[in-house]
Symmetry: C2
Subunit: 238 residues, 2 copies
DNA sequence: AAGATAAAAACGAACGATCGCTCGGAAAAT
DNA sequence: ATTTTCCGAGCGATCGTTCGTTTTTATCTT
C-alpha cells in the first residue's frame, strides 16, 4: 500500500481530529453550535501543536496561544477548562484515533513476513499523516498526570509487543530465524519513532515515507531471516 | 571492549563532569576555593538532572532545585548567572566530554567492519555512563538559545556522518554491499538513541549494555554485508 | 424588509499565585 | 578579625484563569 492510498482510506485531517475532541467533551465545551466549536477547536489545536512543538508545552503561555490561534484568551477557555486539560484532550483524541487506525490497518495480512511489513508500514504512514501530534505526544508525555502518562506508556508498549508477537509467530512457523524477538521489536520501534522525531532531517534529504518504509521493512526482514540478532561468533569486537 | 574496561579508562564520574564545568566558568563562579565549588556544583548538577529528567527543565523551579540540592536559592546563584545559563553550562560541558571520549575511542580500529563496531560500542558505552545527561541533552535541546541549539544539532549530525563515512569506506573497499550508507547510518543512530531514551525499559528487561551493543553491531554488520537497505524486489508489500 | 429582542460568542483588563532573581546580613571558615 | 560561604524574605514580572462587558448572530414582530 502506498502512502497516498493510506491517507485516502483513513480519515486523519485536522477536522477529523477536532471532531473527535468535540465528541469526547461535548458538554464541557461552552460553544453551542457544532459548526463554531469545530472551527475554533481547529484553530486552537493547530496553534497548540505549532507553538508547543517549537518551544515546548510548558513554555507556551496562554497569551502565546491566543496570538497564534487568533482567539482571545477568554474565548479559548470556552473550549477547555485549563491548560493541563487541553494537553490531555489532545493526547487522548490522538491516542484514540491512532489506535483505531492501527487496529484496522493490520487486519488484512496473514503470513508473518507480510504481517510484519504491514505493521511497519501502517505505523510509518500513520505517524507521517499525524506527525505533529506524534512529536507532541512523545515530547510532552512527561507533563501528563499519572493516569494519562500510564496510558501513553501502555500504548507504546502495546505497539512493541505487537511487533514482537509477529516475529515470534514467524519463528514458530519456521519462516524466521531464531532471533531475539523482543530486542528485534525494540529496535524496529526505535526506527519507527525516528521517522516522526527527526522528520525535518529526512525531509531535507528528500527521503519519502515510502522509501523509509521500504528500508525499515527490508532491515526487519533481513534481521528475521538471517538471525543477526543472536550476537554469535561472527561478531567483531574492538 | 567490555563496558567495565571502558569506564575504567574514561573519566566520566559526576566529579569529572563538574570539574569540566568549573574549568570553563572559573571566573563567573563566585566560590573561591575549588574544593567547595566542585562540591556544590555536584549537588546542583545532580539535582538538576534528577528533577529536570522527571518533570522537564522548564517546569523545574529554582525552589524545586534548592530543595533537591540542599542549597539555598541565593547560594545557587553563586554558581550560575541564570536558569538559562545553568542549562547551557550543563549542555556545553557534556558535549565537550562526549566529543573528547568519542574521538579517542574510535582511534584504534582500522578495517571498516571493526571501525563500525567500535563506533557503535563507544557511543553506547558512553551514553550508558552518562545516561542522565544524554537524556537531558536530548529532551531539553529545544530550550537552548539559537547558537547552542545549532551546536547540539551539529554534534548529532557529526555522529551520523561519521557512521555513514565508515559504511561508505567499506563499500569502496568491497567489504560491504552496495547499501544506502546515509539511511543506514540514520537507523543505526536511532538504535543508539533508543538506549538512553528508553533505558528504564531495557533495565526492566535485564538487557545489559553489552548485549544491546552486540545486537546493534550484529544488525549493522548484517545490513552492510547483505545490503538489505536497497529496497529491491525482495520486498514484501501489503 | 426592517427594527426589536434575545441568545451566543468573543473579548481583554484585572486578580492572586508563582516565577526567576537580588541583596543585605547571618553563619562558618580561616 | 577578616574573608568566604550561605541564607531566605522580598522585588518586579509574568503566569493561568476569571468575569463583567461588548460584539456578533439568530429569532421574532411588525
Amino acid at each position: 500500500m502506498t502512502y497516498r492510498q493510506f491517507t485516502r482510506q483513513a480519515k486523519l485531517t485536522r477536522r477529523d481530529f477536532c471532531l473527535e475532541m468535540l465528541a469526547a467533551h461535548r458538554e464541557d465545551i461552552k460553544a453551542k453550535k457544532d459548526e463554531t466549536a469545530v472551527k475554533n477547536l481547529e484553530l486552537i489545536f493547530q496553534a497548540t501543536l505549532e507553538v508547543s512543538n517549537q518551544k515546548g508545552f510548558q513554555a507556551m503561555t496562554m497569551r502565546d496561544l491566543s496570538r497564534a490561534s487568533g482567539i482571545s484568551v477568554g474565548a479559548m477557555y470556552d473550549y477547555f477548562n485549563s491548560k493541563e486539560s487541553l494537553l490531555e484532550m489532545i493526547q487522548e483524541a490522538g491516542r484514540r484515533i491512532a489506535g483505531r487506525v492501527m487496529r484496522q490497518a493490520v487486519s488484512g495480512a496473514e503470513a508473518p513476513p507480510e504481517k510484519l511489513a504491514a505493521a511497519i508500514r501502517a505505523h510509518l504512514y500513520l505517524s507521517e499523516a499525524m506527525q505533529p501530534w506524534f512529536f507532541f505526544s512523545y515530547m510532552e508525555a512527561r507533563h501528563l498526570g499519572k493516569v494519562e502518562k500510564q496510558r501513553a506508556k501502555e500504548g507504546e508498549l502495546a505497539t512493541e509487543r505487537h511487533i514482537a508477537e509477529i516475529i515470534r509467530a514467524g519463528k514458530r512457523q519456521g519462516v524466521f530465524a531464531d532471533v531475539d524477538h523482543r530486542l528485534g521489536a525494540a529496535v524496529i520501534k526505535a526506527m519507527l519513532q525516528d521517522w516522526y522525531l527527526k522528520r525535518w532531517k529526512y525531509a531535507k534529504r528528500r527521503v519519502s515515507v515510502e522509501r523509509y518504509a521500504d528500508f525499515v521493512v527490508g532491515m526487519a526482514h533481513g534481521f528475521c531471516r538471517n538471525g543477526l540478532g543472536d550476537a554469535g561468533p561472527r561478531e567483531v569486537r574492538q
